[in-house]
Symmetry: C2
Subunit: 174 residues, 2 copies
């Protein structure tokens, strides 16, 4: 996976001073990189019993939708408040300062669905934890949480101990 | 295309009273619908001379990324202000009340690239017009603007007279 990892760009001091931001857009804009990233993920899940792919706004839409396409599943967006037009269920979660909220259409998943939740990057894990709780609140089950990039120094796995996790590449102590 | 159109749900009074919102999430969550939508678009463009696919945040990420995957092109996000970590170019555009701004990484497109810009829905056309201007500001060329849903009553084509447009399905006078 090192050649895919090399396509991820590091931006210093974004979103604030001292942060090294791992920028996936350079991987996505590389045709071969985008293909390979997708097929590594799809290959992992090709024999899993999964009913639907949930993608977390906004970069999770990119990864989740290509995975849904290749696995021939439906794609379901989890969004920031007020973005979904139909009736939603939502969940609040804590940020470093204040709270945020994720929403999903209340009828997006048939009860008992087996769901793969997709985002681009595992940092503190708070957003993915909220997405998992939201899927469970909807009466469905999280089969796995999948990420392209893992930042293990930020401890995100501790928030996701209840769920299987897969990450494609890790930036640790760099 | 009528069977795909039937998978788009209409939500009354969103985002404000009197609006019939055409909700694409029910098409995306339908595995066969999502496959067919993607392959109709990919089939249209399979012989076009295109270097990259640009998707407009946020639902344009879903449609643009699957199209990029099937066409084996890179995917480039156009985003709301402050979301992209690298150096960006931006463009302001007018909304019904006030202005908004779109941004793209300044190095996302090699100069002279031939670009397909993707969004889910053509309404007033203001966002897509801004995305086209942004691609041109970056020194590249818009091959076509492509949408799944067309709302012709809102007059969006008048803002896009300089560009070829494709829309997969139209909701007119409904």
């Amino acid at each position: 996976m090192e050649h895919l990892k090399a396509k991820v760009r590091t931006i210093l001091d974004f979103p604030k001073p001292g942060i090294q931001f791992r920028d996936i857009t350079t991987l996505l804009s590389d045709p071969e990189g985008f293909q390979e990233m997708t097929h590594v993920l799809a290959n992992r899940y090709k024999d899993y019993d999964i009913d639907a792919i949930v993608g977390v706004e906004a970069r999770g839409f990119i990864i989740g939708s290509v995975l849904a396409l290749v696995l021939k599943k439906g794609f379901i967006p989890v969004r920031k408040p007020g973005k979904l037009p139909g009736e939603t269920i939502g969940i609040e979660y804590e940020l470093e300062y204040g709270t945020d909220r994720l929403e999903m259409h209340i009828d997006a998943l048939p009860k008992g669905s087996r769901v793969l939740i997709v985002d681009d990057l595992l940092a503190t894990g708070g957003t993915m934890q909220a997405a998992c709780h939201l899927v469970e609140k909807a009466g469905s089950r999280v089969v796995e949480c999948t990420f392209v990039i893992d930042l293990p120094d930020l401890g995100g796995r501790e928030k996701l101990l209840d769920y299987p996790i897969y990450t494609m590449m890790s930036f640790e102590g760099e």
